[in-house]
C-alpha cells in the first residue's frame, strides 16, 4: 500500500495512535491514549507553540468553564495545567443560579504552553515531534498512517487530526493578506488536499483577534480594575489557588472610535469582500459590532495580561482585521489607550475545516475507519471546546484499539455530549461555541457536579488515579451522609430556634420540621444550620455547596431528572449500523436522505435531525421492529 505514496523513509515504529496537532485538542487527544497504555505519536508544526493560545489569554466562562470541569472529571490535562500556571480566577454569574456559575481564569500563555509541553515530553508512552503532516495514508477505507512534508512515513493504527486553524491558513490585516497559521506560524497547505482526495468537502471559516499592546504605554488610571477571587480552581483536585493574582482592566469605546471605524469602512476586509470565510456571531470584530449595532454608544474593552514575563496586553473586545494604520487610529480614541504601542496587530484568519456531519458520535470519520478528528477543524471555536473533543477522540481511538465500546456522552450527561451531538447531528454553519443555553438539561449539567457526573467514567478508563478516585469517593460519601442527616434531623419550634430564624429574616416555625426544610428556605445558608443542629456533620465547602444545591432546588432538579428518563428511552434505542435507508420506500424522501447522511446511532439522535419528523420516527420504529421479527424468524 505504501507504494502509492511518496516518502523517503519509513519510520521503524508503528504507533497505536498518531495525533496531528499539539493544540488544545491535540494535547488531550495525545495524553489520553498514552495514559491508557498505548503508543502515541504527536506531530506539530512548531514545538514552541504546543498548547498555544492564539487569541485571548483566558479560559472558561459559562458553558466553556463547564467543559473544563468535565475534562477534569474525565482525567484530561487542561484544568490542572491552568491551575498550575494561571494569573487570576473568578466565578461568573453567581447571582443567576447554580447551574450557570462559570469559572473564568486568566492564563499565562507562555507558562501554560511550557508546562503542557513538558507534560507531553515526560509522558512515557508519547513521542512529540515537530513535523508537518501532508498526506494521510489510507487503504481500503482504513487509516494506516501519515507522510510528512520532509518525507517520513509514520505508520499508525489510528490517526486523530486536530489541525485547528492551520489548514490553508490565510491571515488578513486590512489590505495585507498572506498565507500563515495563527501568530505567523507556518500554515499547513497540503493536508487539505489529502482530505479532499479521501472525499471530505472542506469549508472555509474565519475568526479574528485584537491587537496586543505594550503595558508601558497603557494609562491604567483611566480604567476600572478587576481583581480575582481566592480559593478557586478549575480542577476538582488542585490545592486551593492562593498565589498573588494579576488584575484585568476595563475601558470603553466611544463615538469617536465608532466614527473612525465608519470612516474606514471601505478599507475593512469584512465589508470590502476580501474575507469570504464564515465568522462566528458571538465573537464579532469591533467593525462588525459598530456597523450592526449603530445605536450602541459604547462597547466594553477588557485589558488582559498575556503573561507574567511579558508586557503584552490583549484588548478583549477589539478583535479586528482593519488595516494597521486604522488600528492605531482606533486606539488613540480610547481612554487609557491614547498612546498605546501596538506590538502585534489584530488580524483575521481564514482556514479549512470539515463538515462535522461527516463524523460519528465517537468523533471517528464516517468515510475512513480509524481516522478521528477534533477541535477547530470540526467547525468549533474555542480552547475548551477543542480540548473536550480532543479528549473524547483520544479516548475513543484507544477504546477502539482495545476492542471496547466507544465513549459517547449524551446530552443529559455532559456539555461535551451536547457539543458533539450538535456538531454531528445538526452540523454548524458558523464556528461553534458552547453556551449554557444549548443544554436542555442545564440544571443537571452544573459545573459543581461535573465530578459526580463523570469521574466514575474517568476512573474506569484509567485516566483518574486511585488517589484522586478515593478522594472522590470520600466526597460522595460525605454528601450522602449529610443529605441523610438533613432528611432525618428534626427541628422543633423552641424559643431559641424561633429567635434564630427571626434574626435570619426567615418565617416563623409553627411545628417541628426536618432540617432539610429549613435549608430549603432561600435566606438560610448551610452554615446557619449548625445552630439548629449542633451535631451537623463537619464537611468541606464543596460538600456543603453540593448538599445545599441538591436540597434547595430539589423540585426543579427532580423535574429535569424525569425528563431525562423520558429522553433516555429514545437514546437507548439503537439503530443497527448496517441499516439500508434507501429500502425504506414508505418514508418521506427528505427524511430518508437526511438519515442516510447522518447515520444516527439511536432513535433519539434521529429525532433531532432537522427535516426528520415524529411521523418519520414512527415509520422508522415500525421498520426496525419488522427487521427484528424477520431476523428472529430466520434464527
Amino acid at each position: 500500500m505504501e507504494n502509492n505514496y511518496n516518502y523517503n523513509k519509513k519510520f521503524e515504529k508503528e504507533y497505536d495512535v498518531i495525533v496531528i496537532g499539539a493544540g488544545h485538542a491535540g494535547c488531550e487527544a495525545s495524553l489520553a491514549p498514552a495514559r491508557m497504555g498505548l503508543d502515541v505519536l504527536t506531530l506539530t508544526v512548531n514545538l514552541d507553540h504546543v498548547a498555544f493560545m492564539p487569541c485571548n489569554p483566558s479560559l472558561g466562562g459559562p458553558g466553556k468553564g463547564h467543559i473544563v470541569r468535565e475534562i477534569d472529571a474525565l482525567g484530561g490535562e487542561m484544568p490542572r495545567n491552568m491551575d498550575e500556571t494561571m494569573l487570576q480566577i473568578r466565578m461568573l454569574n453567581t447571582a443567576k443560579g447554580p447551574a450557570v456559575h462559570g469559572l473564568r481564569g486568566q492564563a499565562d500563555k507562555k507558562k501554560y504552553h511550557q508546562r503542557m509541553k513538558q507534560i507531553l515530553e515526560e509522558e512515557p508512552n508519547l513521542d512529540l515531534k515537530q513535523e508537518i503532516a501532508e498526506t494521510l495514508v489510507v487503504e481500503d477505507d482504513e487509516i494506516k498512517g501519515v507522510v510528512t512534508k520532509t518525507g517520513i512515513l509514520f505508520k499508525g493504527k489510528k490517526v486523530v487530526i486536530t489541525t485547528g486553524t492551520f489548514l490553508k491558513g490565510k491571515v488578513i490585516i486590512g489590505e495585507a493578506t498572506f498565507n500563515a497559521g495563527p501568530n505567523q506560524q507556518y500554515p499547513a497547505n497540503k493536508l487539505s488536499g489529502s482530505l479532499e482526495e479521501i472525499g471530505f468537502n472542506l469549508r472555509r471559516f474565519k475568526t479574528g483577534t485584537p491587537p496586543r499592546i505594550n503595558k508601558r504605554s497603557i494609562d491604567f488610571s483611566k480604567m476600572h480594575e478587576q481583581e480575582g477571587e481566592k480559593g478557586l480552581t478549575f480542577s476538582f483536585d488542585s490545592p486551593p489557588f492562593e498565589r498573588n493574582q494579576v488584575s484585568c482592566y476595563l475601558t470603553y469605546t466611544n463615538d469617536k472610535t465608532h466614527e473612525v471605524i465608519q470612516d474606514n469602512k471601505m478599507r475593512t476586509p469584512l465589508f470590502s469582500g476580501v474575507i469570504d470565510g464564515v465568522g462566528p456571531r458571538y465573537c464579532p470584530s469591533i467593525e462588525d459590532k459598530v456597523v450592526r449595532f449603530p445605536d450602541k454608544g459604547r462597547h466594553q474593552l477588557f485589558l488582559e495580561p498575556e503573561g507574567e514575563l511579558t508586557g503584552e496586553y490583549y484588548i478583549s473586545g477589539l478583535s479586528t482585521s482593519m488595516p494597521e494604520d486604522v488600528q492605531y487610529e482606533i486606539l488613540s480614541t480610547i481612554p487609557g489607550l491614547e498612546n498605546a504601542e501596538i506590538m502585534r496587530a489584530g488580524y483575521a484568519i481564514e482556514y479549512d475545516c470539515i463538515n462535522p456531519n461527516d463524523l460519528k458520535l465517537n468523533l471517528e470519520t464516517k468515510k475512513v475507519d480509524g481516522l478521528f478528528s477534533a477541535g477547530q477543524i470540526n467547525g468549533t471555536s474555542g480552547y475548551e471546546e477543542a480540548a473536550g473533543q480532543g479528549l473524547i477522540a483520544g479516548i475513543n481511538a484507544a477504546l477502539a484499539l482495545k476492542g471496547k465500546e466507544p465513549l459517547i456522552l449524551d446530552r443529559s450527561e455532559a456539555y461535551i455530549g451536547v457539543l458533539i451531538d450538535e456538531l454531528v447531528t445538526k452540523g454548524t454553519e458558523e464556528p461553534y461555541r458552547m453556551m449554557t443555553s444549548r443544554a436542555e438539561y442545564r440544571l443537571l449539567l452544573r459545573q459543581d457536579n461535573a465530578d459526580l457526573r463523570l469521574k466514575e467514567i474517568g476512573y474506569e478508563l484509567g485516566l483518574i488515579s486511585e488517589e484522586r478516585y478515593q478522594m472522590f469517593l470520600d466526597k460522595k460519601k460525605d454528601i450522602e451522609r449529610t443529605l441523610e442527616f438533613l432528611r432525618d434531623y428534626q427541628v422543633t419550634p423552641t424559643p431559641e430556634n424561633r429567635e434564630k430564624l427571626k434574626s435570619l429574616d426567615s418565617g416563623a416555625l409553627k411545628k417541628p420540621v426536618k432540617l432539610a426544610k429549613i435549608l430549603k428556605r432561600p435566606e438560610v445558608d448551610y452554615d446557619d444550620l449548625k445552630f439548629f443542629a449542633p451535631e451537623l456533620p463537619e464537611v468541606s465547602r464543596e460538600v456543603k455547596d453540593q448538599v445545599s444545591i441538591q436540597t434547595k432546588y430539589k423540585g426543579y432538579i427532580d423535574r429535569q431528572m424525569s425528563q431525562v428518563e423520558q429522553f433516555k428511552k429514545m437514546e437507548d434505542n439503537l439503530i443497527p449500523e448496517d441499516i439500508d435507508y434507501s429500502s425504506l420506500e414508505n418514508m418521506r424522501l427528505e427524511a430518508r436522505e437526511k438519515l442516510k447522511k447522518i447515520k444516527p446511532r439511536s432513535l433519539g439522535q434521529a429525532s433531532r435531525i432537522s427535516g426528520v419528523s415524529p411521523a418519520d420516527i414512527s415509520v422508522l420504529m415500525i421498520y426496525l421492529e419488522q427487521e427484528e421479527r424477520e431476523n428472529k424468524d430466520e434464527e
Binding site: 447571582a95 447551574a99 462597547h299 453556551m435 440544571l443 432561600p522 423535574r559 411521523a615 414512527s618
Partner: protein
C-alpha cells in the same frame, strides 16, 4: 425495541359520524389510573380495581368542578390483552360531539398526552399485536394522517389564531433571549430586570394566553353550538318548530350559563351535534317583521348564523314579506321549510322552486309532525357538507391547540411562582422554555436554535 417503555396517550378512537356516539381511548401504563380519576361508576366501584375486560356504566365527571360531562360505558383492558398490548381504558360516549371532546380534554388534563396520528396502531404493532402484513398499512395511516392533520392544523391557524400565538411566542422568545444572553454573556453589558419588570413582562405573556384559551373554548362546537336561526314572517310556525325540536332533543350538555326558557336562544342536541337555535319569534308580531329584522342587532345575528331555516306557510303562498325576509339571508347557508302542509295549499310550486333553487326545499307540518325526520337529516347533511365543517379531525386539532394553550398557561404560572419565590434567572428560564415549547407546538415549529438566533440578533455580544 419491543419493550420500550412508553407514556400514556389518549385520542378519539372512532371516526365521528352522524351517529352521535364516539369512543375515547386511553392507552399506556397510566391509562386506568387516569380514567379512574374522571369516572364514577354507577355501581360505585373504582375502575382502577376493575378486572380486565369488564364494562362499567357510569359518568365522566370533571373532578375540579364536579360537573357531569357525559354518560358513558367504560371498558377496562389490562395489558397485554388489548388492542395496543398496553393498559387500555375506553369510554363509549353517548352525548355526542361536545361531551366527546370534553372527555378527551379531561384525560389530557389528568396526565395523558394526545396521541400522534397512527400511534395506537404503531404501539399495537410494536407490542406484537399486529402481524407483519399490517406494517405497511400502519405506515400508510401514519403518513396520510400526518399529512391530513397538518393541513387541518394549517387551516385552523388561519383567521388570526396563528398571528396571535406568534405574537405571544415572540414576546416569550424575546424575554427568554434576554435572560439567556445575560446568563451566557455575563461580561457583556446586558441590562437585567428587577422583579417588578419581570412580573410585568410575565403578565404581558400570561394575559394573551388566557384570552386565547377563552376564545379557543368559545369555539363553535364547544359552547355555542352551530348557530341556527329560524326566520319567517309571523305565524308561519317558527316557535312551534323550535318547541318540537326541543321536546325531542333536549340538549344534554351545555356549559352556557343563562340558557333559560324565556330567551329566544335554545340549545338542541341533534344526533350529537349541538345546535344553538335562535327563534326570531321574540319580535313583536304586530310590527312589520322585516322592519324589525332590519334592526342592526338582529341583522348581525343573522349574519353570524351558520345555518338559516327560512319558514314559509303553504296556505299563504309566497308573499312580498317572505321575499323581503329572504333577501336578508339569501347569502347564508339556508334551508327553506314550507310549513303547514296539512292545510290547503295556496302556492305556486314552480315559482317556489325557481325562487329557492339554490337551497334545499322541504315540506313539513309541525302540527302533525310530518317531514320532521327529513328536516333533521337535511340539517345534518348541510352541516357535514363542506362549509360547516365538524369533522372529528378538526375537533381533535382544536383539542390539541387548547391542550397546548392550557399547558403554556400552567408553565407561565410556574415561572411566576419561581419569581415570587425569589429564584434566580436560570429557574425562570426552565418553565419559560416550556411556554415556548407549547406555543410552538400549536404552530408546528421547533425552537431550540431560534433562541440562539434571537440572542444574537437582539444583543451585541462577545469579543
Amino acid at each position: 425495541m419491543t419493550n420500550m417503555k412508553e407514556d400514556t396517550i389518549s385520542a378519539i378512537a372512532t371516526p365521528f359520524g352522524t351517529s352521535g356516539t364516539g369512543k375515547v381511548r386511553i392507552s399506556g401504563p397510566d391509562a386506568i389510573n387516569i380514567g379512574s380519576k374522571i369516572f364514577e361508576a354507577s355501581s360505585g366501584i373504582d375502575i382502577y380495581e376493575a378486572d380486565s375486560h369488564t364494562a362499567h356504566h357510569g359518568y365522566v365527571v370533571n373532578p375540579k368542578t364536579g360537573k357531569t360531562v357525559d354518560e358513558v360505558l367504560a371498558i377496562v383492558m389490562i395489558k397485554p390483552r388489548s388492542f395496543t398490548g398496553e393498559n387500555v381504558l375506553e369510554f363509549d360516549c353517548h352525548g355526542g360531539m361536545v361531551p366527546l371532546e370534553a372527555v378527551l380534554e379531561l384525560t389530557l388534563e389528568h396526565g395523558a398526552r394526545m396521541a400522534e396520528p397512527g400511534e395506537f396502531s404503531r404501539r399495537a404493532f410494536m407490542n406484537g399485536k399486529l402481524d407483519m402484513a399490517q406494517a405497511e398499512a400502519i405506515i400508510d395511516v401514519i403518513n396520510s394522517k400526518t399529512e391530513k392533520s397538518l393541513s387541518i392544523a394549517m387551516e385552523q391557524l388561519k383567521g388570526g389564531l396563528s398571528e396571535k400565538v406568534n405574537k405571544v411566542k415572540d414576546d416569550v422568545m424575546e424575554l427568554l433571549a434576554h435572560l439567556e444572553a445575560s446568563i451566557d454573556f455575563p461580561e457583556d453589558e446586558i441590562e437585567g430586570f428587577d422583579s417588578n419588570q419581570l412580573e410585568e413582562r410575565l403578565k404581558e405573556i400570561k394575559e394573551p394566553i388566557q384570552k386565547l384559551i377563552k376564545t379557543a373554548k368559545q369555539g363553535k362546537l364547544y359552547q355555542e353550538g352551530i348557530k341556527t336561526v329560524i326566520v319567517g314572517k309571523p305565524n308561519v310556525g317558527k316557535s312551534s318548530l323550535l318547541n318540537y325540536l326541543l321536546q325531542e332533543n333536549r340538549a344534554i350538555v351545555t356549559d352556557v350559563p343563562g340558557t333559560t326558557r324565556d330567551v329566544i336562544e335554545e340549545y338542541i342536541n341533534l344526533d350529537g351535534i349541538p345546535l344553538k337555535v335562535i327563534d326570531t319569534a321574540g319580535v313583536r308580531e304586530s310590527e312589520d317583521v322585516v322592519e324589525k329584522i332590519g334592526v342592526e342587532k338582529t341583522r348581525e345575528s343573522l349574519k353570524k348564523a351558520d345555518l338559516v331555516l327560512m319558514m314559509l306557510d303553504v296556505s299563504q303562498g309566497l308573499t312580498e314579506e317572505d321575499i323581503k325576509v329572504y333577501n336578508l339571508i339569501k347569502e347564508q347557508h339556508t334551508i327553506v321549510v314550507v310549513n303547514k302542509t296539512d292545510l290547503d295549499e295556496n302556492i305556486d310550486f314552480d315559482e317556489l322552486e325557481e325562487q329557492f333553487k339554490e337551497h334545499p326545499l322541504l315540506w313539513t307540518s309541525v302540527k302533525e309532525e310530518k317531514g320532521m325526520e327529513e328536516l333533521k337529516n337535511t340539517i345534518l347533511e348541510e352541516i357535514f357538507q363542506e362549509q360547516i365543517n365538524v369533522d372529528s379531525d378538526v375537533m381533535v386539532t382544536k383539542v390539541r391547540h387548547r391542550d397546548a394553550l392550557n399547558k403554556a398557561f400552567e408553565s407561565i404560572e410556574k415561572v411566576e411562582q419561581s419569581l415570587e419565590n425569589g429564584m434566580p434567572y436560570d429557574f425562570l428560564t426552565i418553565d419559560l422554555k416550556d411556554v415556548l415549547f407549547y406555543l410552538s407546538s400549536i404552530t408546528g415549529e421547533t425552537v431550540t436554535d431560534d433562541i440562539i438566533d434571537q440572542i444574537f440578533s437582539d444583543f451585541c455580544l462577545g469579543k
